[in-house]
Point group: C2
Chain length 178, copies 2
């Protein structure tokens, strides 16, 4: 029924096994953006989670080796955008090195009240400051204290799973409510 | 194009707006289980994220008011199960107060090497100890140091979005790779 494997953390294969396990997971997709020393920076995240509504807090993680991550963690103000399924190209652009980012064609607008270009078309935009940053293995785990919430065009969310993008669809049988 | 609202955290509506924003998000679904003072406890989570593969670390959050949460955070050993789309009933049982849990019919097996019943059919099972627990507003943000990884039957993951369960489906247009 199951092909079970058990490994300890000392095992060289633990990292590979952990990754294989998480390829079974699904995640919503978001962008994290901030102003770095050389202008706006952004990255695609599949680790954004709502932590607390009152006060509003969300968490995400970024690799310690990420240059964008370093700029985001050093920034005084950080913005997280949730993405819709029709924004997969945007997620791709911010996930792949060397892609064009923050272009008007992608929907970014320069606004007088913000240092950063703004993506007004995102279904939800959360801006605030990082109140906790915890070193966590090869990554940083960060907590964003949200002080501005903007809701844009709603829609089907973008899902990341097994190195591809997807959209949620109804379960074959009647799904239970939560 | 967008119905934008901007609020500060002092606003009474900030919590409602934050929740409305996160209804636009999608998340993978998992169970977190541990042995409490009165036996096995478990809860459904939509906040599990992979943080680091080497060493293997994952994060999740639980409400401070949750009795199960308190037992999980106090436990020496914690297990997180990722769930498949065909396991929505299991997610429902661990999300709703008073439901039957840890039954053989749900796939739980008692094993000699474990205090906790084990769900061998989960696509991935991560066991370890909580190395960091950060108070985060109305919740705890926890980091699990994984020292045992078991892979069961793989399959389409269960997705939570807008208070319902879903399964990932192909995007209408060709999705970009990551």
């Amino acid at each position: 029924m199951s092909h079970t494997a058990v490994r300890g953390p000392e095992d060289d294969d633990a990292a590979a096994l952990f990754k294989e396990g998480f390829r079974q997971h699904a995640a919503g997709v978001a962008l994290v953006c901030a102003t770095g020393p050389e202008g706006p920076v952004g990255a695609t995240l599949s680790s954004v989670a709502s932590v607390s509504a009152d006060p509003p807090l969300l968490s995400f993680s970024m690799a310690r080796t990420s240059v964008t991550g370093a700029a985001v963690l050093a920034a005084g103000s950080v913005t997280v955008y949730l993405l819709r399924a029709d924004q997969a190209d945007l997620a791709h652009a911010f996930a792949v090195r060397g892609s064009e980012r923050f272009t008007p064609e992608q929907g970014w607008r320069t606004r007088e009240d913000s240092e950063l270009p703004v993506l007004e078309d995102a279904p939800a935009r959360f801006t605030g400051r990082l109140s906790v940053v915890v070193p966590a293995g090869a990554s940083w785990l960060a907590l964003l204290e949200v002080d501005e919430i903007d809701l844009g065009t709603p829609g089907t969310p973008l899902v990341h799973h097994d190195r591809r993008y997807w959209a949620p669809a109804a379960l074959p049988s009647d799904p239970p409510g939560v």
